[in-house]
């Protein structure tokens, strides 16, 4: 199977590989997929008090398209508000990376990772008793 140039570029030069400390304030962590399915994505977001995504990092176990999808998402999501990020659809990733039908699930997983990371951040923020307004308002719009 031939890969698109964009998939190859992200695979060879992945953006924003790495990890933030999970318990750092403002960090949301999403881990989706399972090893026996051949795909696991970890996406971490650093979110400001005003609900702006300041930084993103990923680590992915999966095929080249899965790596590219998560790498692209970290680029796409930086600078977006939590609401905007939550609204990202997998089709956007499919179009950008020219994913073939057999690789659509990689984009779905990347979308799930965004939602999981935001969900984690919301849960932790609420637990901390801060940023309640931002968290709840984004939830209403997104769900």
């Amino acid at each position: 199977m031939a890969y698109s140039d964009k998939v190859l570029d992200h695979y060879e030069n992945p953006r924003n590989v790495g990890s933030f400390p999970k318990d750092e304030p403002g960090v949301g962590t999403g881990v989706v997929g399972a090893p026996e399915c051949g795909d696991v994505m970890k996406l971490q977001l650093k979110i400001s008090n005003s609900g702006l995504i300041e930084d993103a990092k990923f680590k992915t176990f999966g095929c080249g398209s899965a790596i590219a999808s998560s790498s692209y998402v970290t680029e796409l999501i930086k600078g977006k508000s939590v609401e905007e990020a939550y609204a990202i659809k997998n089709t956007q990733i499919v179009e950008e990376l020219n994913l073939p039908p057999v690789k659509i699930h990689c984009s779905v997983l990347a979308e799930d990772a965004i939602k999981a990371a935001i969900g984690d951040w919301r849960g932790r923020s609420e637990a901390e008793g801060k940023k309640e307004d931002v968290a709840s308002s984004s939830e209403k719009k997104a769900v």
């Binding site: 990890s19 399972a34 090893p35 051949g38 696991v40 999966g62 095929c63 080249g64 799930d112």
Partner: protein
Amino acid sequence: MSSTSNGKPTQRVYMDNHATTQVDPQVVEAMLPCFSDKYGNSGSRNHAFGWEAEALVDQAREQVAKVLGAKAKEIIFTSGATESDNLALKGVVEFYKEKGDHIITATTEHKAILDTCKALERKGRATVTYLPVDKFGLIDLDQLRGAITDKTILISIMHANNEIGTIQPLHEIGKIAKERGVLFHTDATQGAGKIPVDVEAMGIDLLSLSAHKIYGPKGIGALYVRARSPRVRLTPQLDGGGQERGFRSGTLNVPGIVGLGKAMEIASRVMESENERLLRLRERLRHGIMSRLDEVFLNGHPMQRLPGNLNISFAFVEGESLLMGLKDIAVSSGSACTSATLEPSYVLKALGVGDELAHTSIRFGLGRFNTEEEVDYVTERVVREVNRLREMSPLYEMAKEGIDLKAYNWARE
């Protein structure tokens, strides 16, 4: 490996010799006259063009038979091992239907066997027992004995496995088949011409082989059909001009047959020295990789395997992504992402290798034209790429943190 004219090396290494092989230049040379000068139909009995072609076919039949310890007339030329497997299984099932309808095979067989069995089951023509294998890929001989019934007409167990290289105990299987009066077929696609096989000593009644796995051309193979004690009968699956003693109609692929004959002749001549060399290269590759990376696992039998086969799982690194990083190196993976079905290798599953490790497996198939230099290059590249991908792998990070990945609550869909 090769170099371009500007002196910049372009590394391109073929290490997928279980998929197919480069045609040996001596084989090409032997085939060429069949296209230009000796192009007759071996079935033409009334002119010299036909006689020439027939003589070439006869010679090739001798060459193939010799390697198997068979007689020339017991060799039926086919289009390849898939056709040979189909003819053996379907031909036996149809011909011996009064005697019984039970076949015994194993879960790690090639799809040419498994899907033929499934087709026979679906049509209600056969019942099939699929023997499990142990963690090395070997069948259990007691289980084989126990599976034989009055209705059993055929045992079909492969010689060497195409993914993990495990070599089945054909001598013992042949003995059991003889004791119980059951026919024994072996798919020797990966064995014949690579490792010793003897249809007499091993009690083999039917044997499938293919030319392109042993440095011959694609599109040609053979089925050995025992002529005496017992004389094996088959219902033909192709009707027509009655070639190949009526077992396989169709004008003979003379160039292919000549190529197969030559490939087998070379194979038998170089087998011993080639296997010594391949084993040394294989062990160099295995040691090079396994001594420099943690969490890597050998799949298949440590010793009882094809000399050129190495199958390794690189935990925490998905196979397709590794292949992508090794894009100038031809190897293959048991990862789901490289298969049409999106299921990881059924062979590794049958060995009890978990899906999470099956997804990380790579098969290296060393062959006649691989060099030590290539082995060292592949070792370097694999080690570097696995390390790079592990830096990117959340699983490797979690494992290093001491998280039990098996017990972890994965967000499964």
